[in-house]
């Protein structure tokens, strides 16, 4: 097997008062901290994502999905554990190494968009390229192209505050696509979108995937979306994965009562993921 694109081993992230966290340096001390009032947003998590795979994470709100995705980029410092992304040991990187890694290997879409309110839509989309030092003309061309793909032609010179929620979300998606990174971390990227655009964006993602074989970690609440996009999926609860497997497996054999309830909350229009994807790609 090739080296996985993402490998996470024994990842922990505790939140809580400084006072308690100060003493947390080894997993042995964690149970005590938890008793004292800390929250384990991510709890001893280990998994791998293969190159070119779309790995979907679902789970209750507050189960730690955003925290996990942030930890992969060290936007929040993991309390414990090891993260490798694209063959790089992220947890061991120093400052410049981390910057280089973030610029070149990964792109992220934020649940709350994370747009720069003082920059125009175009500048927002070109932002990743600017940081990387791409010349203005080139990054402008690239940004215009991606903006057209997400259906925001004509809005380039507006500020994010003049856009509706769904439009802002699409700016965030365009920003990630513009960087051409191999690995995409997507935190509920499509949840504010209307169904037409949502389907479009899903198709676009599958097309991209067929062409470029990116590796994607995708957080969603929509089971249809998970089934449609995911090669494998994980169901998360209180910081741990309750079950990991292909969507079909999970739908057919829920590991426990919780997963069963979770996947049946949204009944699904047949399980024809494979055929659907083929249709789109062809």
């Amino acid at each position: 097997m090739t080296t996985p694109a993402i490998r996470v081993s024994h990842l922990w992230k505790l939140f809580g008062p400084e006072r308690i966290l100060r003493t947390c340096d080894r997993p042995e001390t964690f149970p005590e901290a938890l008793k004292a009032g800390a929250v384990a947003a991510v709890r001893d998590l280990s998994f791998t994502v293969a190159p070119g795979e779309i790995f979907v994470v679902m789970g209750l709100s507050g189960s730690g999905k955003s925290t996990l995705i942030r930890s992969l980029l060290r936007l929040i410092e993991p309390t414990w554990g090891r993260v490798e992304v694209g063959g790089v040991d992220v947890t061991a990187l120093d400052g410049p190494g981390l910057t280089h890694f973030r610029r070149t290997k990964v792109a992220m879409i934020f649940q709350h968009y994370g747009l720069l309110p003082h920059k125009t839509v175009l500048e927002n989309v070109a932002f990743g390229l600017k940081l990387r030092g791409v010349p203005p003309a080139e990054r402008r061309a690239k940004a215009l192209e991606v903006l057209a793909r997400v259906g925001l032609k004509g809005w380039e010179e507006k500020l994010p505050s003049a856009l509706s929620g769904g439009m802002q979300q699409r700016v965030g998606i365009a920003r990630a696509l513009a960087t051409d990174a191999d690995i995409l971390l997507m935190d509920e990227p499509f949840s504010g979108l209307d169904p037409l655009i949502r389907t479009d964006m899903q198709n676009e993602l599958l097309r991209l995937q067929a062409e470029m074989r990116k590796t994607i970690l995708f957080v969603t609440h929509d089971l249809r979306e998970a089934v449609r996009l995911g090669d494998r999926m994980a169901v998360m609860r209180s910081g741990s994965f309750v079950q990991v497997g292909t969507p079909d497996e999970i739908l057919a054999h829920p590991a426990n009562e919780y997963v069963a309830r979770f996947v049946h909350a949204q009944d699904l229009p047949g399980r024809k993921k494979q055929t659907q994807r083929e249709k789109v790609v062809s």
Binding site: R102, F110, F127, L131
Partner: protein
């Protein structure tokens, strides 16, 4: 309670500086003075109507607000009409030099204080001291070291007027939303890029308030500057005061206020040019 004094040490220290490094300070003084005299010569070379025209044009090209530009121009015309233009030029030389130095020093220090908790804790009382230590206390030794005139005036103005821009830069940067900063970091912004692309532009309203306060405080030092031989409009104020000439003092004060407003609006417009958030 038994008393305890530090005065003796201070005196000894100043004497020692004076005797051992007198020549060095003369050198520094000559350097600053040369810069100042150049600014002043430039201003003096300009006829007043040219200065008015330049102000109006600069204001218009920076703000695109014709009303404001004309008001700024007419404030300068008022200074001329009061017969205070030649004095105003001397004052301006000192104030411009001080404000430019204050901003060049203050904004980076403010950034430093926002970045480092340690610097923040250490510099806070220093800023307090800079603002409240009565100027004359340090001006007396400064005058002994640098001589009388414009050089210690610039020094005193700098010391008194730099803290606001430092403090407000610090505050502004601390208020920038962590979400937006996180997004920039996720795309690989270095510390410097984060600062330049996100933190400074979003802190701009607060920084501008600091620039405004620094300008105001620099101009509030005009009279003190004149008290140590820097000449300018402040001297007119002193003269009027010593002669109990309320009207004349008021006119001189008006001229200072006019200079303050013109300088402030121009600096603000200029700083705003750099980049400001689109959100109101």
């Amino acid at each position: 309670m038994p008393e305890f004094h530090v005065a003796g040490w201070i005196d000894a220290f100043v004497d020692w500086l004076l005797l051992s490094y007198g020549a060095l300070f003369d050198g520094i003084s000559a350097g600053i003075l040369a810069l100042l005299l150049r600014i002043q010569a430039g201003l003096e070379w300009l006829p007043w109507w040219a200065a008015v025209a330049i102000t109006i044009l600069a204001a218009y090209s920076l703000t695109r607000r014709p009303g404001l530009s004309l008001i700024l121009g007419s404030l300068l015309v008022m200074v001329v009409a009061l017969g205070l233009w030649p004095l105003a030029v001397e004052t301006l030389a000192v104030v411009i030099a001080s404000v430019v130095l204050a901003l060049l020093l203050g904004i980076p220090v403010g950034v430093l204080m926002a970045e480092s908790r340690w610097a923040n804790a250490a510099l806070q009382p220093v800023l307090d001291a800079m603002q409240t230590m009565p100027s004359f206390v340090y001006l007396i030794p400064a005058m002994m070291l640098f001589g009388l005139g414009k050089v210690p005036a610039v020094l005193a103005t700098l010391i008194y007027s730099t803290p606001p821009v430092i403090r407000l830069t610090n505050l502004g940067i601390r208020q920038v939303s962590p979400e937006v900063q996180e997004a920039a970091l996720a795309y690989g912004a270095t510390r410097w890029q984060l600062l330049k692309e996100v933190r400074l532009p979003l802190a701009m309203p607060s920084i501008l308030a600091g620039v405004n306060q620094t300008t105001m405080m620099a101009l509030s030092m005009v009279v003190i500057a004149s008290m140590i031989g820097a000449r300018g409009v402040g001297e007119e104020v002193l003269l009027a005061i010593n002669r109990i000439d309320v009207g004349r003092g008021f006119e001189a004060g008006l001229a200072i206020v006019a200079l303050a407003i013109v300088m402030d609006r121009l600096t603000q417009a200029f700083a705003r040019r750099w980049e400001t958030p689109g959100v109101p």
